[in-house]
Amino acid sequence: MSSPETLADGPLVANALAGDRAALDVLARRYRPALVRAAWSRLGRSEAAEDAVQETLLCVFKSLHTYDSRYSFRTWLWTILLNQCSRSAKKQARRAEGADLLPDCTSQVTSSLPHPGESLLAEERSAELAALLARLPEAQADALRLRFFGDLKFEEIAQTLGCTLSTAKYRVRTGLQQLSAWICPHKQNEVSMPPPARCQP
């Protein structure tokens, strides 16, 4: 008999529906890191991202009996996460109206990176990416999150976002192009100038 870790989503969901709690654990372990990354890039705070993922997983486990097996489980899961993130973002926006958000220090405290400089750089990159994604239209940003954080196929992105396959591809493509333009603005105008390190081929 194959280990639950190696099972595909479909059989795991079926086992979970049959009352197998271990199958739920496997599903949670499988998707939680990607969900947290995507939620963090959307919400910008580790605590909020953790909360959103927790709520998402709880919702999945509670509503698993409503899952339609004709569709991909990942699509269903990521749709719930995006909805949860939207709700959390609205709550955050309401709270931020009265007070500025404090800098997120949680990940710095528990970081396991070896060097403080590297940790700082990693934080800067993550923050830079989150800031750039926040400037994009929400549909494009969500498409990119699903593509890179969720590792979803374009068909799954289309299902999750409720759009056509070509629209999903277009959103990913235009989103990436816009991000690149913000990262390396000279590429748009000055071809002859040497690009910075990140932009070198």
């Binding site: 580790s46 710095q108 750089l121 990159r125 954080f149 081929p201």
Partner: protein
């Protein structure tokens, strides 16, 4: 991946991760990129954003807080549970009814929240009373002059006779009262009595001469504490209005009649 790839396949590869990926399909993608100008341009255009994504993903995965201890293994252990005690229905009915802790108290009819509020109120009231008592005691002591602290407590003339007048320190109010007395010139010269209001008297003026140890030159009835027995024991108003009626005021009996 098939040997010949389409633009869609290349787009899929380029948006999946940094290229080259290190897999066997990289060669086919490179061949396509060499031949397709649009895909090559797109690859160059997307590269900064794709790299940023993957740097953030890799580093963020390390930076995110995560539990890396042993408790996850321990949680999976199936530990034997303690044996359960089963009760018959009759045994359960014989058990005394479980009542809350406050139900056994005299305040049984009061809810625990109300009882706690009452206790808090009583504590606050007791504390307030103690503070009031402390403030009243302090104010009654501080409000008096130093001489009053002692003279007010002396009730008998014997105690007054034993009083050492050198220890007195007169305040300005007492000095004014003493200066207003019509004293013989000898008293003022001999003892440097306060003639003006600004003088500060270090000692009990009259008692310096007219004490029990040194009987007065002209006075037949002088108490040891002299002026201070009246002029320091009472409030200022009493000094002004009751001079005549106070027979204990030794100086006044002789000099102010």
């Amino acid at each position: 991946m098939k040997a010949t790839v389409t633009c869609d396949d290349v787009f899929d590869v380029l948006t999946r991760g940094p290229f080259p990926t290190g897999s066997a399909d990289d060669e086919a993608v490179e061949l396509h990129l060499a031949a397709c100008h649009d895909c090559r341009q797109l690859a160059e255009a997307l590269r900064p954003a794709v790299e940023l994504f993957h740097e953030a993903i890799e580093e963020r995965a390390d930076a995110l807080p995560a539990y890396r201890g042993r408790l996850a293994d321990i949680a999976n252990l199936s530990l034997p549970l303690p044996p359960r005690v089963y009760w018959d229905e009759e045994q359960v009915q014989d058990l005394p009814a479980r009542r809350p802790m406050f139900a056994q108290h005299r305040w049984g009819r009061i809810s625990p929240e109300s009882a706690a509020s009452l206790v808090r109120f009583a504590s606050a009231a007791l504390l307030g009373m103690a503070l009031c008592l402390l403030v009243w005691t302090c104010s009654s002591i501080v409000g008096r002059e130093p001489a009053q602290w002692q003279l007010a407590d002396w009730q008998s003339s014997t105690e007054l006779a034993n009083y050492s007048s050198e220890t007195l320190k007169l305040g300005p109010r007492t000095t004014l009262a003493l200066a207003a007395l019509r004293l013989p010139a000898a008293c003022g010269e001999a003892d440097s009595l306060p003639v003006g209001a600004s003088q500060e008297v270090d000692q009990a003026c009259c008692t310096k001469c007219h004490s029990a140890a040194h009987p007065g030159r002209d006075c037949s009835l002088v108490w040891s504490a002299g002026c201070e027995s009246c002029h320091l024991a009472g409030p200022p108003m009493r000094l002004a209005t009751q001079h005549v009626s106070i027979r204990q005021a030794a100086c006044r009996v002789c000099h102010d009649g």
